[in-house]
């Protein structure tokens, strides 16, 4: 039996809504966060660039798998299971 790749819900922040035609919640599939982001970019071209830089998650984009900041659970290698949900929130940050 083929292993199915989970498709999960992703919450999109205000500044990325132009990529999803205003949809605040979209779906993408992947067995790791890296695959999920790649699929998200296929469905909503340009999104990958907003999330990644030099193949890593951008420093000032926070990504949460369920209730965990993905930086603490393997970043792009974090495994995705069916029923998970992903939340993307740009960091609120700045400096003088």
């Amino acid at each position: 039996m083929a292993v199915s790749t989970p498709e999960i819900d992703i919450r999109i922040p205000t500044i990325l809504l132009p990529y999803t035609s205003g949809e605040k919640s979209v779906q993408a599939s992947g067995s790791t966060l890296a695959e999920l982001v790649a699929d998200l970019d296929r469905r909503f071209p340009g999104m990958g660039e907003r999330l990644l830089e030099d193949g890593k998650l951008r420093r000032f984009i926070n990504v949460y798998l369920n209730d965990e900041d993905v930086r603490f659970i393997g970043s792009l290698d974090a495994p995705i299971s069916s029923g998970d949900s992903l939340t993307i929130l740009p960091a609120v940050a700045g400096g003088s």
Binding site: T14, R71, L89, A91, V92, A93, G94, G95, S96
Partner: protein, 136 residues
């Protein structure tokens, strides 16, 4: 224009002075239906720095979930500058990601000798535009 009560102006200043010389940061939220600021939520500056601020990532997730549950929005996102003017820096503008929020800056720099400097800006697509502040 930002319309805000004196009570919130005082609360933001009290937070900024308490955290000085580190930058203080937080939000004032309000009902999505009115956009009027009604609830002050001081946030932890995860950077704990006199020249940088960043909302703690877990505190921020909880904040956004609460906003969704309560049908509220971020009306004001504030932070303090502790040795410079209350004007958005290049990094403030580069990282600003809430085009619908009022970005409030206060300064606690010594030259002000305890006087308030409270300014509000819209930051959209890399451009900061100052707006009038009406204190109620």
């Amino acid at each position: 224009m930002l319309s805000i009560s004196q009570e919130f102006v005082d609360a933001i200043y009290a937070h900024a002075r308490a955290d000085h010389p580190d930058e203080a940061c937080g939000v004032i939220v309000g009902p999505a239906s009115t956009g009027i600021p009604t609830r002050h939520i001081p946030m932890r500056n995860a950077a704990m720095s006199p020249t940088f601020y960043e909302f703690d990532s877990m505190e921020m997730l909880k904040l956004y979930r609460d906003l969704d549950d309560r049908d509220e929005v971020l009306v004001v996102i504030y932070h303090s500058h502790t040795s410079t003017q209350a004007h958005p820096s290049r990094t403030d503008i580069a990282y600003a990601s809430e085009p619908d929020a009022h970005y409030v800056l206060v300064s606690t720099r010594e030259e002000l000798a305890g006087a308030n400097e409270f300014r509000s800006f819209r930051i959209v697509d890399g451009v900061a535009t100052e707006e009038p502040v009406q204190i109620r």
